[in-house]
Amino acid sequence: MDFNYVIAMLLVALGLYCLLLKRNLIKIIIGLAVLTDGIHLFLISLGYRAGGTAAIVSGEMFLDLPGFAAHAVDPIPQALVLTSIVINICILALALSLAIYAYRHYKTLNPSKMRRLRG
């Protein structure tokens, strides 16, 4: 189980590295995606319970709710991740559209070559 956290943190680190050191806007956005994937993996692993079942109630499970709750994985992190995925796709879309605009203006995707704002 610990291995999950290790990989999650590695993904976060990888995303950070990409975000901070790459010199291409699309790459940076890819880095952002990796970073959030890492966080999502972390959150889902957090809610996982060894041998647990999915926190979806159906059929005869209604009859034994306390017993179900004892076995199910924690649903809250899953809800968080769901929200976060949706939010991140918005950010991704916005970022990519900005990248397209930036390319139209500057004919480059290298953010350090966009320097009108320095000073």
Partner: protein, 81 residues
């Protein structure tokens, strides 16, 4: 303890490797395709972690919508880093 944790760990390593490749590839289009692969791997991991709904979303949004968006963006800009 069966095969499952082993597969899961293998998938995680695979996920990480895919992400590294996605970040290091010079050709952005391939990079995005590899990222989509990573997303699907992540979805499988989610499934194994008893989060089926998240897995579906991740597969649809992460591997589907995001890839489409990336591809559109790349087609409007340039393909090489």
């Amino acid at each position: 303890m069966g095969l499952e944790p082993l597969i899961q760990n293998a998938l995680l390593v695979f996920l990480f490797v895919l992400c590294v490749i996605a970040i290091e590839l010079k050709d952005l289009l391939y990079s995005v395709i590899v990222l989509a692969g990573a997303s699907i791997t992540l979805a499988v991991v989610f499934l194994m972690l008893q989060a089926p709904d998240i897995a579906i979303t991740q597969a649809a949004v992460g591997a589907g919508v995001a890839t489409v968006l990336f591809v559109i963006a790349i087609s409007r800009t340039r393909r090489q880093e």
